[in-house]
């Protein structure tokens, strides 16, 4: 049932957690999901503000190799099923950042075809307001994300916890 079930009973879990989280937080690879104007500020963070120094040099085009999705831009009702499908194709562990006012809550566009916030479709970890936010805001969110990953533990993974509880 996975090594976590045995590790939880031993005192080695915090050490393994520390090493695994160290690896994860310094190599977060986002999937390219730029929808509208905020996508340009995301690209600029990659190039001029050098997000490679945080370990995220590779923006993967396919969700199967990524562990983070930055939703940058307006989410329309026509595009919403694709976002959900791409989120489900990403392997665990995964995080989502809502970049920009349109992704956080619909932005200026309160109309018949815009979803008022991407958190109605996928669970969001960080919200970055702004229209568009400055690239430094994305880097600030990156640092906060690294702190969040530090605090995670292997035994808290959704599939593991469920199976641990089943075992009694």
């Amino acid at each position: 049932m996975g090594i976590e079930t045995y590790l939880e009973k031993t005192p080695f879990l915090p050490a393994v957690d520390y090493i695994v989280n160290w690896g994860r937080k310094y190599s977060v690879w986002p999937v390219t999901f730029g929808l509208a104007c905020c996508a340009l500020e995301m690209m600029v963070t990659h190039i001029s503000w050098d997000i490679g120094r945080f370990g995220s040099e590779a923006f993967r085009p396919t969700p199967r190799q990524a562990d983070m999705m930055i939703v940058a831009g307006t989410v329309t009702k026509k595009m919403a099923p694709m976002i959900k499908r791409i989120y489900e194709q990403m392997p665990e562990p995964k995080w989502v950042i809502a970049f920009g006012a349109c992704a956080c809550s619909g932005g200026v566009f309160q109309t018949y075809s815009v979803v008022q916030g991407v958190d109605q479709i996928v669970p969001v970890d960080f919200y970055i307001p702004g229209c568009p936010p400055k690239p430094e805001a994305l880097l600030a969110a990156w640092v906060k994300l690294q702190k969040k990953i530090e605090g995670e533990t292997l035994a808290d993974r959704k599939d593991v916890r469920g199976s641990l509880e089943m075992k009694g």
Binding site: A80, I83, K84, Q110, Y112, S113, Q120, I121
Partner: protein, 162 residues
């Protein structure tokens, strides 16, 4: 302005009974024509050697609720050779058909699909009249005056169907 008078004079010469109205506002000329003759008038404007309106700049719809007929279709034409623009307006009722000008200018294909999608204006002889900007299964025509800006179910949470 003298060249624009040339367009209107030639139109009046060739189609004397079809000019329902004309006007000039801020230097732009507008001509209102009936919907039955739109294809002939457009063909004439396109192929006449003095006028040569080869570029269809824009085709859009207008909703004039509660006037009858309800909709208007507005054509903006441009002549690259003479540097001239002209605007044509046609009135169409709610369930009536208007002939498509796709056979003259291919760009009208997508413009007319957009007018159908957002207003519900029906075009005859269009090769493929279906929704272009909104998803299949969307009910209603959003740019009509009696459709709310926020959509009919704004207060309910949105659930996508995957």
């Amino acid at each position: 302005m003298a060249e624009n008078n040339l367009t209107i004079n030639k139109l009046k010469e060739k189609f004397p009974n079809s000019i329902l109205g004309e006007g000039t506002f801020r230097g732009e000329s507008t001509v209102t024509v009936p919907k039955e003759e739109i294809v002939q008038i457009c063909k004439f404007l396109h192929s006449d050697p003095d006028l040569q309106y080869h570029l269809l700049t824009d085709l859009c719809g207008l909703d004039r609720l509660p006037e009858v007929p309800r909709f208007e279709v507005v054509y903006h034409l441009c002549s690259i050779k003479n540097h001239q623009r002209i605007r044509l307006r046609v009135k169409v009722g709610e369930d009536e058909f208007i002939s498509s000008v796709e056979s003259i200018w291919k760009s009208a294909n997508w413009y007319e699909r957009e007018a159908f999608d957002l207003f519900g204006i029906l075009f005859k002889n269009h090769p493929d009249l279906r929704r272009i900007l909104l998803w299949d299964g969307f009910e209603g025509h959003p740019l009509r005056k009696d459709y709310p800006t926020q959509g009919p179910d704004f207060d309910k949470p949105f659930v996508p169907e995957v």
